[in-house]
């Protein structure tokens, strides 16, 4: 039993953090948030070249041969840096395309960063379950940047090119200026059925969304602590006041809770532990709770500065809200957890 990062995993984390940190500084220099709408192409290409998009694919499929825990490490860093891009859809798409001979080139393009995938979470088959899709899917993250849509139905997994007939994409702003949503309408759009099972893919998605939320919970804690050490009021650093210090302590508790359960869920899912599905729901609930509460406290801790657009504090809070609504809200997951207990 070991829930720490191996030295190999630490290397992955440091490498990812280094690249994202450099790119984030570059984005800032180019005008910050305003430039962050949609895709950061330079970052996307670099990420693909570094193998991030195929981190957990088999080596035979052009991947690095790691697993969900390593993808989790990547997504924690993506959350910390608020990196723009259709990361989740593209990584899931690559998984879904593996082993389909007809999609061999498609997969290679996806892993190479030449094709972007957005994921449509449709657990009730609202857009149908057959080879033609009809219906509307709202709030699809980075839908405007997608070349392909990956549709996770109740059981089935299908893909549809964004340019196919009957696919209409309307890009919307979202609460989060660094991540756009899209409303996608399918009108008898032709879909390709993939051999993948939607259930494990959806679970992996939940873990990765939780990981992104964990990144926010961690980064906002660090931001608050750093600010509390340097900002002075009443002749002392504000971190010396118990009100601020204890708020930071509570943020540390939430971050540690999130970090532990997300790690545990990722490993349990990789190893097909019987309780893994339960822990996935728990990770999503606790990580998004930690992200929302920490991001809120981080705005508070920054005082007036936290209320400005210029400071990053608001971006973490807004991203946290998007993650709360990705792949099921806290309430939805608590209901999923309560259901068997109610029956039992």
């Amino acid at each position: 039993m070991d829930l720490t990062l191996s030295s190999e995993q630490e290397s992955i984390r440091e490498a990812v953090r280094g690249v994202l940190g450099a790119r984030l500084s570059a984005r800032r220099a180019q005008g910050g948030v305003a430039a962050e709408r949609g895709l950061d192409l330079a970052l996307w290409r670099e990420a693909a070249a570094l193998g991030w998009l195929g981190l957990a694919l088999p080596e035979a499929a052009g991947g690095a041969g790691y697993g969900l825990p390593e993808e989790m490490i990547l997504f924690v860093e993506l959350g910390r840096s608020l990196a723009p891009g259709p990361w989740l859809g593209t990584v899931l798409g690559a998984h879904a395309f593996v082993g389909v001979p007809a999609l061999r080139d498609e997969l290679a393009d996806v892993v190479a960063g030449a094709r972007c995938v957005a994921v449509v979470d449709d657990p009730v088959d609202a857009v149908g379950e057959g080879s033609r899709l009809t219906g509307a899917a709202q709030g699809i993250a980075d839908g405007g940047a997608a070349d392909v849509f990956l549709v996770l139905g109740r059981q089935r997994v299908r893909c549809v090119p964004a340019g196919a007939s009957g696919v209409h994409v309307a890009t919307r702003e979202s609460l989060d200026p660094t991540r756009r949503l899209a409303d996608v309408t399918f009108e008898d759009a032709p879909a390709e059925l993939l051999p993948a099972d939607a259930v494990p893919l959806r679970r992996a998605a939940m873990v990765l969304v939780a990981a992104e939320a964990l990144g926010i919970a961690e980064r906002t804690l660090e931001g608050s602590v750093a600010y509390a050490k340097t900002r002075h009021q009443f002749g002392r650093p504000i971190g010396a006041f118990q009100a601020v210090k204890h708020r930071c302590a509570d943020m540390a508790v939430r971050a540690e809770v999130a970090r532990s359960i997300v790690t545990f869920a990722a490993v349990a899912l990789r190893d097909a532990e019987p309780e893994a599905p339960r822990h996935v729901h728990e990770a999503k609930v606790l990580a998004t709770s930690a992200a929302l509460a920490n991001a809120h406290d981080n705005v508070q801790n920054h005082g007036g500065m936290g209320f400005t657009w210029e400071a990053d504090a608001h971006l973490y809070l807004k991203r946290a809200w998007l993650l709360e609504h990705a792949f099921g809200t806290r309430t939805a997951h608590l209901e999923a957890l309560a259901a068997p207990w109610r029956a039992g």
């Binding site: 709202q138 709030g139 009021q233 005082g303 210029e310 809200w321």
Partner: protein, 391 residues
């Protein structure tokens, strides 16, 4: 004990209601990006109130106000909000802060010049108190003013100046004696915003709004006769009217909150809930709504109690700081509840939709526990001044 108003007070209410019904602007207010449009709109409305005899309801009659009693003020602000009259924003500092300060501490000349202009809606005032390193700790302000002949020469920086870029005058706190203890050596000065050496830069807030400004002062010359009260005595002058901002005017905000909560309940009757049925049928959401409504009712009862205590004792009570803290956190609880009720619509922006309004309100509401003293400072004030706990 009585929660009803007297016959005379009810007559006042009828007058206020009738006037407001006849005069409140019908059309929507300018959406807000162009602050000058907003200023013009607000000043026109202020002039209308002035002409109708309803400007400066709480100001003494001798200074052109209506001289309403505290109870009449309660009634006015209730009716004002019920009538959907325009929220007081650009004219707020003049009416509720600078004006009352001049009435309390200004010279005859200052009062004669400025008070009518504020009441008539000729001018907009802004505040110049906070600085980048003097937020919660206001007394540590560093903007310097040196006496040079009959003038003060001001250099430094202010921040969080609302509507600074559309204001004629500013109530400005400057340090005139750097040797004196923190709370001494500060002066309260009337600053004309078109003075040479002033540079005003809007701050974009997390909502995208730009009504706050940074103001930079580079050897700005202000006549010494613009000092209000005594030189170096500005801290006392500023504190003299701090209570105004937390008084009866606050009732309008409360009533707007109550109305927003009713809107939210209507919304919860129209959107699906997390388990089955409508959102309002959910046990948890229904109870959170009911609790919020109970707290809004308590807020009104607290304000009534505070006002009637003030009437009885003649001084504003210590409850004001309690009401303020409770209000600020209640607003945030209600905004959060709204986001939970809205579901995914809360994060997808459709301009003008109810969801977008609630999301904007949630974001703007983050300032409730920051601006005008953070919630930590509010709790300090309650602990120190209301409960008498040691510092």
């Amino acid at each position: 004990m009585d929660i009803r108003f007297s016959a005379a007070e009810e007559a006042f209410r009828a007058d206020a209601r009738a006037w407001l019904e006849a005069n409140v602007p019908r059309g929507p207010r300018p959406a807000g990006v162009d602050l000058r449009e907003r200023r013009d709109y607000d000043l026109a409305w202020q002039r209308r109130m002035f002409e109708g005899g309803w400007a400066g309801v709480s100001w003494p009659r001798e200074f052109g106000g209506r001289g309403a009693s505290l109870m009449e003020q309660v009634i006015w602000y209730e009716e004002y909000a019920r009538a959907g009259a325009p929220e007081i924003t650009t004219t707020f500092v003049g009416l509720n802060h600078a004006g009352p300060t001049l009435i309390a501490c200004g010279s005859e000349e200052q009062k004669a010049y400025h008070l009518p202009r504020i009441l008539r809606g000729d001018v907009v005032w802004c505040q110049g108190f906070s600085e980048p390193n003097a937020g919660s700790d206001l007394a540590s302000l560093q903007t310097r003013a040196v006496v040079d002949g009959a003038e003060l020469v001001v250099s430094g920086q202010k921040i969080w100046t609302s509507f600074g870029n559309v204001a004629e005058f500013q109530e400005l706190l400057v340090r005139t004696d750097p040797e004196a203890p923190r709370h001494r050596g500060i002066s309260w000065v009337i600053c004309a915003m078109d003075s040479p050496g002033i540079d005003i830069r809007p701050i974009t807030t997390l909502t995208g709004d730009q009504h706050f400004c940074e103001v930079f002062y580079d050897e700005v010359r202000i006549p010494l006769r613009n000092v209000v009260g005594q030189l170096h005595d500005g801290w006392r002058v500023a504190m003299a009217t701090l209570g105004f901002e937390r008084g009866t005017a606050f009732l309008s905000e409360q009533i707007r909150l109550a109305r927003r909560l009713e809107d939210l309940a209507a919304l919860a009757r129209s959107v699906p809930g997390p388990r089955a049925g409508r959102a309002i049928d959910d046990d948890e959401i229904g109870r959170r709504l009911a609790l919020a409504r109970a707290e809004v009712a308590a807020l009104r009862a607290m304000t009534y109690r505070s006002v009637s205590l003030a009437v009885r004792t003649g001084v504003p009570g210590a409850e004001a700081s309690i009401i303020r803290l409770f209000f600020s956190e209640l607003v945030q609880r209600i905004d959060l509840l709204a986001l939970d009720i809205l579901g995914p619509a809360a994060v997808e922006r459709c301009e003008g939709s109810p969801a977008a309004r609630w999301a904007d309100s949630y974001l703007a509401g983050l300032s409730q526990t920051i601006g005008g003293g953070t919630k930590d400072i509010q709790r300090n004030i309650i602990g120190d001044r209301v409960l008498g706990l040691p510092r």
